[in-house]
């Protein structure tokens, strides 16, 4: 394809640009979530995450305390700084102020506005304000509306909130509890079966392999009702025990299929010479085939881990709906989206807590994942 010397450089540029565009398109949504999870909740709704490093312009309302007014030369003077307390606490710059909620930035900083209850108000850019009137301010002081630029805030509050009050820490432990046994146990069962299907001669072997291939595509939905009833009948019910069994059963076809394909590709010489030397099948399996199959075992382990960690369907059906047993996916989908539907910072933090471990596994062990995918699909 590199034949046309003239067209080549232009084409190469097009390739670079297209790939860059694809990568950006693929990353942007995730980056948005990550950035949002570290932002202050008020800032999230005031400006887009792509403007996160810029100061945020927000509108505030401050009710002044009339008790702080002092009488000076027959006039009542109330002064202070809008950044001293309340929602707007902290440093910032006033970009405009007003005396009604309808026009919160009617006046430029430093200008003088007439208060509706009589008197005048001035707010400077640094936030200091002065209200003056001929009569006392009464029980309620004048309300100052103002628009201010606050510097970007990076905060861990969302994470603290999700892990503490929302119980995501418990859900994390639950997910871990579901995932580890559901990953380890099927590997062992599948490895023995895969060895038998790859290296032992017996009638019906081809039929069994075909059955495994068929079972690979059975929709999980079919299994839900009958197995839940079965678990209830034998006393397991909805429990961790039940979900471990379920994940084991559902993961087996892929495990057997992947491992058999890999084991069948091992060199025949090694296995036959071991048998000639008097090794039994059990020894051949544990001493030769199992260690050699490590890459395939690793691939399946990663698959099963990602699948059980990220699963929502099986967890919803086989675990009780009580909050002590909710895994993270169920917690997010059923609890947080309901109660914090508009609280984007909380949702983003929760999503990232649930994604951190799979992403770490993915980037650390990508090689095995790719190898497993190829063994499972390309033949």
């Amino acid at each position: 394809m590199d034949g046309h010397a003239g067209a080549k450089s232009r084409l190469t540029w097009a390739v670079h640009l297209t790939v860059a565009a694809l990568v950006v398109l693929w990353l942007v949504p995730t980056v948005g979530l990550l950035v949002s999870s570290f932002r202050d909740r008020d800032q999230i709704s005031a400006s887009g995450w792509w403007e996160a490093p810029l100061p945020v312009e927000q509108t505030y309302r401050l009710r002044t305390d009339p008790g702080a007014a002092v009488e000076r030369h027959g006039r009542f003077v109330l002064s202070g700084n809008v950044f001293d307390s309340g929602d707007s606490a902290g440093t910032g710059t006033v970009t405009g102020f007003g005396v009604t909620g309808r026009a919160p930035a009617e006046f430029a900083p430093g200008a003088t506005a007439d208060l509706r209850g009589g008197g005048r108000l001035t707010v400077a850019a640094d936030g200091s304000f002065t209200a003056q009137a001929d009569a006392p301010f009464g029980r309620r002081g004048p309300t100052i509306y103002f628009e201010a630029e606050t510097p970007p805030k990076v905060t861990l509050d969302n994470y603290r909130m999700v892990l503490g009050a929302d119980g995501m820490d418990r859900a994390f432990v639950n997910t871990l509890t579901v995932t580890i046994p559901a990953t380890v146990i099927p590997i062992l069962i599948a490895a023995f079966a895969a060895y038998a299907l790859a290296w032992m001669e017996f009638p019906g072997r081809g039929l069994l392999i075909a059955a495994v291939v068929g079972l690979l595509v059975v929709p999980l939905q079919l299994a839900l009702v009958p197995l839940l009833r079965l678990h209830e009948a034998v006393g397991i019910g909805q429990s961790f025990m039940g979900i471990w069994f379920a994940h084991t059963g559902f993961g087996l076809p892929l495990a057997v299929y992947l491992l058999r394909n890999y084991m069948a590709g091992l060199p025949r010489d090694i296995i036959e010479s071991a048998k000639v030397d008097g090794a039994t099948d059990f020894q051949v399996f544990t001493r030769i085939v199992l260690p050699l199959s490590f890459p395939a075992l690793a691939s399946f382990a990663i698959f099963q881990f990602l699948w059980t960690w990220n699963d929502l369907l099986v967890a919803k059906v086989f675990l009780p709906a009580a909050s002590e047993t909710k895994v993270m996916t169920v917690k997010i989908a059923d609890d947080l989206l309901g109660s914090h539907g508009g609280d984007w910072g909380i949702l983003a933090a929760a999503a990232f807590i649930s994604m951190a471990v799979p992403l770490a596994v993915f980037f650390a062990l990508q090689r095995y994942l790719v190898r497993g995918l190829l063994a499972g699909s390309v033949k």
Binding site: W26, A196, L222, P226, L230, F240, W344, P358
Partner: protein, 326 residues
């Protein structure tokens, strides 16, 4: 006992039990049932070797039988009974489904999903594979496009909720609209008919990486001679790609396509998280979940409909696998 500790104990019991079973059963077979001694040691050894495969297979077969084969039959049987399982109503659940407009919406949407998602993912994956293979930083690009594979469907849905959000200060789509001068933000998740496509985009975003990884390996397996011959014949890069390379990897494309198709028929998480099946976005798996725990007869009937849709792919897969083994 805390669940995590219980999990650790289960791992120990499970792993120990498995190893113990395989070891003990093997020992029992060789030493006690068919010992290589006595009157006819040769016959005993061959008998033991005939039994051993089944010994190795037994736990896997039991688990597969109980957790995948039995449910197919069990679900079908259950779908012939009414809500509480008390009375046999034949195909009553299925006729009810056919009469339910919500079911027809779900079926229609599912058809759209099955048509669009595998096609789009495979096509984008193919393009991404071909392009990333040609540049030096291609592997990093691949990694980034592949990354959504590690994210749960729920997590991915949340990520895209931020893109679709109905406010110009949160949702990227509405921010772009606002930048172009449109005044009112739109809620893309509520636009009739087209909202389904916005949900599909999430799954396409996840699955493109999978298609890319597999197709990239297949593209690299194409013999160089065919491409060189095409260059000598004066074919342009597009002709080489679509007329020379793609036809040589049709087999792999079909595998990727069917794998994603199967997945599409299982995924209920995205619709459940994004819309809960509202605004006309229901698909069969999420429709089934709306009956789960409420009407087992109806739920199993929907599950069986999904099974019927998957069946042709299953048969094709089995035939393919048998062809390879010969």
């Amino acid at each position: 006992m805390s669940p995590l500790l219980q999990g650790m104990v289960t791992i120990l019991i499970g792993v120990g039990g498995c190893v113990g079973y395989f070891y003990a059963a093997n020992l029992l077979l060789d030493r006690v049932i068919f010992p290589p001694s006595g009157r006819d040691p040769g016959r005993n050894i061959s008998r033991a070797n005939a039994v051993r495969p089944w010994l190795f297979l037994a736990p896997a077969m039991a688990a597969l039988g109980l957790y995948l084969v039995y449910p197919v039959v069990g679900s079908f049987w259950r779908s012939l009974y009414n809500r509480d399982g008390g009375s046999f109503i034949g195909l009553g659940n299925y006729t009810d489904l056919a009469a339910d407009p919500a079911f027809r919406t779900a079926l229609f949407n599912n058809l759209l999903w099955v048509l669009v998602v595998p096609a789009a993912s495979t096509f984008l994956g193919l393009i991404a594979a071909q392009l990333t293979d040609r540049i030096r930083w291609g592997n990093i690009a691949k990694s980034m496009i592949f990354m959504p594979m590690a994210i749960s469907f729920v997590g991915a849905s949340l990520i895209w909720k931020f893109v679709y959000a109905n406010e110009a200060d949160i949702g990227l789509i509405n921010a772009i609209r606002a930048g172009l001068g449109f005044q009112d933000p739109i809620d893309v998740i509520q636009i009739p008919f087209w909202n389904t496509f916005f949900l599909m985009a999430i799954l396409i975003w996840i699955q493109t990486g999978f298609a890319m990884v597999i197709l990239s390996a297949a593209l690299r397996g194409i013999p160089d001679e065919t491409i060189e011959a095409a260059i000598l014949d004066g074919a342009n890069p597009f002709q080489i790609f679509f007329r020379v390379m793609v036809p040589q990897i049709t087999g792999t494309i079909v595998v990727v396509w069917t794998t994603i198709t199967i997945l599409v028929l299982k995924v209920f998480d995205i619709v459940y998280t994004m819309t809960g099946g509202n605004f006309g976005t229901q698909i069969l798996p999420s429709y089934m979940m709306s009956y789960m725990f409420k009407d087992d007869g109806r739920a199993t009937a929907v599950a069986f409909v999904i099974m019927l849709i998957v069946l042709p792919v299953m048969v094709w897969n089995i035939l393919q696998a048998r062809k390879e083994m010969r």
